[in-house]
């Protein structure tokens, strides 16, 4: 088993699935010759040819729209959007079409499409390169949203996404691309969609995070008896894992790097407030970015949730 970083793990998953299934075709800006701006698709065009790893014009809506047509007619396209901030231009295609094609055609056409995109902050990049607007996409019935938290889950989730019969938005936490190395099996394995992972067991408080914030949460929560849930799939939520942990601990903190208001943390907190309220001993706290636009690098650290903020929230809920 090799020690891989997340870029390598994703590259491996793509390569192996392309080998296994010739319906898998990649498309996007700079995914071919350049191997992607983060090198995630490096070497794949050489290996599989320009028909399977297609460099496209600069047109996010067109890329996702074309991928929908490909998916409906027998391919398994993987569309790369260069950064999540540029997926806003493809929002209409995702909301109006990818997530609805099965319904609109009453099952005659389906859309087994994966849209991959780097997301999240902490990389000191220009505007729109550090968005973490996952919540927009979790409000689209018919679209799955997935976020790996390390190389192992990246490979397994991506293989699951590539085999899912419906569209999946696969968000890759850019800050983690090369930060973590893990054992990643060469063999075929999937991490099932819709299932969260208990990253650390504990009994005093439940903490839920995903992507790059999981890493930060794990560090910040070290001194606490916290059960830490790595969400992995943001939509549909793994309600069982969440609720049973909260029922056990009676306390909940959610950590995300998106702005607080209407972030995914809201849905998790609301679900708990509806279904596990009697187990709660204190407030459900969300540690999130403030309700402002993600700033440029000079203020990035002031924006992203810090270990101290996570600890302050833990201290607060543990008072009850």
């Amino acid at each position: 088993m090799a020690q891989l970083n997340m870029v390598q793990a994703i590259n491996l998953a793509l390569a192996q699935e392309m080998e296994r299934d010739d319906r898998v075709v990649l498309l996007g800006e700079d995914v071919g010759r350049d191997g992607g701006v983060f090198r995630v698709t490096e070497g794949l065009q050489e290996r599989f040819g320009a028909e399977r790893v297609m460099d496209t014009p600069l047109a996010e809506s067109g890329i996702v729209g074309a991928a929908i047509g490909m998916a409906a007619f027998g391919l398994r396209p993987v569309a790369e959007i260069q950064f999540l901030g540029f997926a806003y231009a493809a929002f209409d295609q995702l909301a109006t079409h990818a997530s609805r094609l099965r319904g609109r055609s009453r099952g005659r056409f389906t859309c087994p499409l994966v849209v991959r995109t780097p997301y999240g902050g902490g990389i000191r990049a220009p505007e729109l390169h550090e968005e973490s607007s996952e919540a927009f996409f979790c409000h689209l019935p018919g679209l799955k949203v997935v976020v790996p938290s390390g190389p192992y889950s990246a490979k397994g989730l991506l293989l699951a996404a590539l085999r899912d019969p419906d569209p999946v938005l696969f968000l890759e936490p850019t800050r983690l691309y090369r930060m973590i190395r893990e054992e990643v099996p060469e063999e075929d394995y999937t991490v099932p969609l819709g299932t969260a992972r208990v990253a650390r067991e504990g009994s005093g408080v439940t903490v839920i995070a995903w992507g790059s914030m999981l890493e930060r949460t794990l560090k910040a929560a070290k001194p606490y008896d916290a059960e830490i849930i790595d969400l992995l799939t943001l939509n549909p939520l793994d309600l069982e894992t969440i609720l049973s942990s909260v029922r056990k601990t009676g306390r909940l903190v959610i950590v995300h790097e998106a702005p607080l208001t209407c972030g995914l943390g809201a849905e998790i907190a609301a679900t708990v407030a509806a279904e596990a309220i009697l187990s709660l001993r204190g407030p459900v706290l969300r540690v999130a970015a403030p309700d402002v636009v993600m700033p440029l690098p000079k203020l990035e650290d002031a924006y992203l949730p810090t270990a101290e903020q996570i600890q302050a929230a833990l201290d607060e809920v543990l008072k009850y």
């Binding site: 014009p57 809506s61 047509g69 409906a72 007619f73 099965r102 055609s105 419906d166 819709g194």
Partner: protein
């Protein structure tokens, strides 16, 4: 140095029949007598479908409906040229295309009665669901063409849309992609000269829509959209180009929307009746009838038979449509995705 000409472009316009149904013989497409008569039957069927839909809507038996009357030649003529394996991406005003391709008539009505099940194309027909969101379906044709080429299938991907759709970003991104990849795709614009209340002159400053093809380095042509033979001919040519690796074509069918935009619209608010009157004289069905009568393929009696047959077909379809039991709420869930989340499963049970 200096100022020089970088490139020169020409946009063609094609017409076969004049307003009196007289043909420019060398341009007549190679169609048998049966095929010519079939074109006529289909156009009559399309109009009969349409006028019945308007009546049904007035009686509350259909929902909001966008009539096609006046556009039968553009729709029937183009669809008649297609192979059954070709992939069709309609907008919401191409019922003549559906009918020509053999889409079940009752299902078409079922859709316009507000039931998604009417949009499930039968196996053997590669017709995407009607797209109400103007222009956003055009990129899907690009993807379908990529898939066809990749899988070495003969199919051409054909997107239909209106003049208004040409202003949308998705039109642009799609045609540009199709040009870059030289795809087997066909973009058929029904320029009916109106996008609700906006006339095409206010939709774009370009003197034709066909010239928009130049932006993508692809073939573009304007045809008389009320001339079913011209539409057929241009479509055939484009399909042959596509199938032989010559890349995509943009066809502008210049026609006219004879009715209100939809049953929720009142065109009298924004366009003078005279404009409509002038276009009545260019009616695509009478034009073909004059041509066929001139060739003694048709006479008044036969025309009456065609209408009777169309009415019978439509009567039967309406009856069949109205016999369909309503959808169950579980339907909403069963086609959201293959594997529902837990919450959705619970919601489905409650629904």
């Amino acid at each position: 140095m200096a100022e020089e000409t970088l490139a020169t472009f020409t946009i063609r316009r094609l017409a076969v029949l004049d307003e009196h149904g007289v043909a420019d013989e060398p341009l007549l497409p190679a169609l048998s007598e049966e095929e010519l008569l079939r074109l006529h039957e289909l156009m009559v069927l399309a109009r009969t479908f349409d006028q019945r839909a308007l009546a049904l809507q007035r009686e509350g038996r259909l929902g909001t409906y966008p009539p096609i009357t006046g556009q039968e030649a553009a729709q029937v003529g183009s669809a008649f040229a297609l192979d059954p394996t070709d992939r069709v991406f309609p907008s919401f005003r191409e019922m003549g295309v559906h009918l020509t391709l053999g889409y079940p008539v009752d299902r078409l009505y079922q859709y316009w009665a507000g039931d998604e099940r009417g949009q499930r194309a039968p196996e053997g027909l590669e017709i995407f669901p009607v797209c109400v969101s103007v222009g956003s379906h055009i990129p899907h044709a690009v993807g379908a063409a990529i898939a066809a080429r990749y899988r070495k299938e003969e199919a051409v991907a054909v997107a239909y849309f209106g003049d208004g759709a040409t202003s949308k970003g998705d039109f642009h991104e799609a045609l540009n992609l199709a040009g870059v990849f030289r795809l087997p795709a066909l973009f058929i614009c029904q320029n009916n000269q109106w996008a609700i209340s906006v006339p095409v002159k206010e939709q774009t400053a370009a003197v034709s829509l066909a010239q928009k093809a130049l932006a993508y380095g692809i073939e573009g042509v304007q045809v008389d959209g009320n001339d079913v033979l011209a539409v057929y001919r241009a479509t055939r040519e484009a399909l042959e180009r596509a199938r032989s690796g010559g890349g995509p074509t943009f066809i502008e069918c210049l026609t006219y929307r004879m009715e209100d935009h939809t049953t929720a619209d009142d065109a009298a608010r924004y366009r003078p009746p005279e404009a409509v009157e002038a276009w009545k004289r260019k009616d695509p069905i009478s034009r073909l009838e004059r041509f066929l009568t001139g060739r003694e393929l048709l006479d008044d009696g036969k025309i009456a038979d065609v209408h009777t047959q169309a009415v019978a077909t439509i009567d039967a379809a309406v009856k069949a449509m109205e016999a369909i039991p309503p959808p169950s709420p579980a339907e909403m869930f069963d086609y959201t995705c293959a594997n529902l989340g837990r919450r959705q499963v619970a919601q489905r049970q409650e629904a």
